[in-house]
């Protein structure tokens, strides 16, 4: 059964809540840095797109950073993730180099996919990111195979696969959770429920209140968590990762969050109100965490700004790297269609 811990706001008088206390300063520094990297990466990508420097489309996860960072914080480098069309956050959270990500956006030869994949297909195979996916729910069946592979090779790895609320109505969701369940595969299924598919409200797309409720069809744990609350996300993800690593099988973890931008560049936000967007802007995961940390004297405001600044600098340099990178050679059009 799903359980949704109520969102907590900081209270300087009260002691730190357990989820926050469980996180050391170093972990928090890493988490904050990653959230800022993601936010700034996407804002910069958006600006580049607006200025016509990037073509194609892109799906921004601004507002969802705590989910990407919190779920992956306790993963090891050799654990795997599988990501989605809205995947920049997962990619950065798993440790990818924003410079090579930007290079990919710019279609450059030293992008992660040598300019062949673009925003929707960034993969950082060495870093354990087995790729974003342009197909909604496309990563879920692949995760099953990754889980089989880990088990067959008797590794202690975990595979975490991301998908949206809309993806949970695809048949692939059902088939994958079922197989992961019967074979007790080391998978954490992370649904980033941002309330909408492209435009369809989850309340119109499914009849149960929580995606996590669907875990019961597979007799696996289903947990719903406030996806804009980083410590809560970490606290929910860690036992799921541990369970998977221990051979206890998969978990369905639902992070309830919100995308502050439109679905993609062409979204006119006809399906939601300005007020709704504003409400969620107030729940911004980064500011909220920073506020709580300052209230509890875990970090000084100056230190927080330094973390943010460093992230911004990294992103600026990443952009420059990308712009200066070489284009692919058109003569190599059909290279890498087949491996040999």
């Amino acid at each position: 059964m799903a359980s949704l811990p109520g969102s907590r706001t900081a209270d300087a008088q009260a002691p730190e809540r357990a989820e926050l206390a469980a996180l050391g300063d170093d972990a928090l520094r890493v988490a904050l840095s990653r959230m800022h990297l993601i936010r700034k990466f996407e804002e910069t990508a958006e600006a580049s797109y607006m200025r016509g420097l990037i073509h194609g489309t892109m799906h921004l996860s601004i507002g969802q950073e705590a989910s990407a960072v919190g779920t992956t914080l306790k993963l090891e480098r050799d654990d795997y993730i599988l990501s989605t069309h809205r995947g920049h956050g997962h990619c950065i959270a798993k440790g990818a180099d924003p410079a090579r990500m930007f290079a990919e956006f710019f279609g450059k030869e030293n992008g992660y996919c040598r300019g062949r994949g673009g925003s929707m297909h960034i993969a950082d195979v060495e870093g354990g990111n087995l790729g974003a996916n342009g197909i909604v729910a496309g990563g879920l069946p692949i995760a099953v195979g990754v889980g089989m592979s880990i088990k067959a090779q008797k590794q202690h790895r975990v595979c975490m696969v991301f998908f949206g609320d809309g993806a949970t109505n695809e048949g692939a969701f059902h088939e994958s959770l079922n197989m992961a369940s019967i074979w007790r595969l080391p998978i954490v299924f992370v649904c980033e429920n941002n309330k909408y598919g492209m435009s369809m409200d989850i309340a119109r797309a499914m009849a149960v209140p929580n995606v996590a409720d669907r875990a019961s069809s597979y007799a696996i744990p289903g947990i719903a968590v406030d996806g804009n609350d980083l410590p809560a996300v970490v606290a929910a993800a860690e036992p799921a990762i541990d369970l998977a690593r221990r051979g206890g099988g998969p978990t369905l973890l639902e992070c309830k969050t919100y995308r502050l931008r439109g679905h993609s560049k062409s979204d006119r936000n006809l399906y939601r109100t300005k007020e709704e967007i504003e409400t969620w802007r107030d729940k911004d995961a980064i500011r909220r965490l920073e506020h709580e940390l300052v209230a509890h004297n875990r970090f000084a405001e100056t230190e927080l700004r330094a973390i943010e600044e460093a992230a911004h600098k990294t992103i600026e340099q990443a952009l420059e790297f990308a712009k200066a990178s070489p284009d692919p050679d058109p003569a190599q059009l059909t290279r890498d269609v087949y491996a040999d």
């Binding site: 073509h55 194609g56 489309t57 990919e104 279609g107 450059k108 996919c113 300019g115 062949r116 994949g117 673009g118 929707m120 297909h121 996916n133 342009g134 197909i135 909604v136 729910a137 496309g138 809309g166 993806a167 109505n169 695809e170 048949g171 598919g197 492209m198 435009s199 369809m200 119109r204 797309a205 499914m206 062409s266 979204d267 006809l270 399906y271 284009d327 692919p328 058109p330 059009l333 059909t334 269609v337």
Partner: protein
């Protein structure tokens, strides 16, 4: 098959390809309450490419239905509605997602009429935005129409102009068989004359877009447009190309092609799908086994998509499918050197 054409006095305006489709949908829904439109985000959002636009507001949520992200399910729903008295029009958001719906389209929709001994009909229409050129990369840019030309029981059309987009849609809705309409993403904004009154473009009739003597260029969808543009340039070099817009891939209007080849003695087939096993293969083979074969003065030439998944990088992306320049060059070689 209904071939009623617009009355001559009917007003003809310039509309975009997307607007023409929308007008056709509206007229069909107005005329016949069995017709309804459904698909992902076709409602308030107005469709991923804006094709349904305001239809939701004009016809309400029972005739313009947002669906969950469930391509197999919605294709099957079209089958079920069609065999019980409705005339569903299904939009798949990108034609690439038809890979999820093949079972219902190929095993059910295409076969039910025959398999049940003629006792049921499946008057459904599936609209599939296809093609490359938008930087959407390998999973959102395919041209898969050739697959369906291989399946008895289906009809497959590919309009190139706003006029045909509306006329073929209305013919498809009238048709008692399942019809797939491959629309092209790059054409949605192109404009052209469209009669206001409802009219049908018969399925299975190619259009001769330009009369010529020196060679026949066959294409459909955006390749018919590029072929016509190429022909205009070739005329300046004293090469007089006949341009045939297929419009329909199944059934194929072979008589029109063969008649042209008997006249011009040279054939160039242009298509965006992967060259190998693309629609040009069938046309070439039909010519090669017909008596038009005896009229050929040069080997049949095909220009098709490169043997590669569609790359994200815009230069590579363009290089992967035939462009106007490629058509001009191939036609010139075929006429001047007797071999493309």
């Amino acid at each position: 098959m209904p071939t009623e054409l617009a009355t001559p006095e009917a007003a003809t305006r310039e509309l975009s390809y997307a607007e023409a489709i929308r007008e056709g949908l509206a007229q069909a829904m107005q005329a016949d309450e069995r017709v309804f439109l459904f698909g992902e985000d076709v409602g308030v959002y107005g469709g991923a490419f804006g094709v349904s636009g305001d239809l939701f507001h004009r016809f309400g949520p029972e005739r313009v239905i947002d669906t969950p992200i469930s391509e197999l399910g919605i294709a099957g729903a079209a089958v079920g509605a069609a065999i019980t008295g409705m005339k569903p029009v299904l939009e798949l958001q990108f034609s690439d997602f038809v890979t999820l719906a093949m079972e219902q389209i190929v095993n059910q929709a295409a076969k039910i009429h025959f398999m049940f001994g003629g006792k049921a009909t499946v008057p459904m229409v599936v609209r599939l935005p296809g093609g490359s050129g938008t930087g959407a990369a390998a999973q959102h840019s395919q041209s898969l129409e050739a697959w369906f030309a291989h399946v008895p029981g289906l009809k497959v059309v590919q309009p190139s102009t706003p006029h045909d987009a509306k006329g073929l849609l209305l013919a498809a809705i009238d048709d008692p068989n399942p019809v797939l309409i491959f629309e092209h993403k790059l054409l949605y904004k192109t404009r052209g004359p469209v009669p206001e009154d409802p009219y049908r473009v018969p399925i299975g009739n190619a259009a001769v877009r330009r009369v010529g003597r020196d060679l026949t260029i066959v294409g459909s969808s955006i390749m018919a447009i590029r072929a016509a543009a190429a022909a205009a340039r070739l005329a300046a070099e004293d090469i007089d190309a006949e341009v045939i817009d297929l419009r329909s891939l199944r059934p194929l209007d072979f008589a029109t092609i063969a008649a042209s080849v008997r006249k011009t003695h040279r054939l160039l087939i242009v298509y965006e799908g992967v060259k190998i096993m693309g629609i040009g293969a069938e046309i070439s083979a039909m010519i090669a086994e017909s008596d038009a074969f005896d009229f050929l003065d040069a080997p049949i030439a095909r220009l098709g998509g490169a043997d590669v998944p569609l790359p994200y990088n815009p230069v590579l992306e363009k290089a992967a499918v035939p462009q106007e320049d490629d058509i001009v060059a191939a036609a010139r070689r075929l006429v001047r050197e007797g071999r493309a």
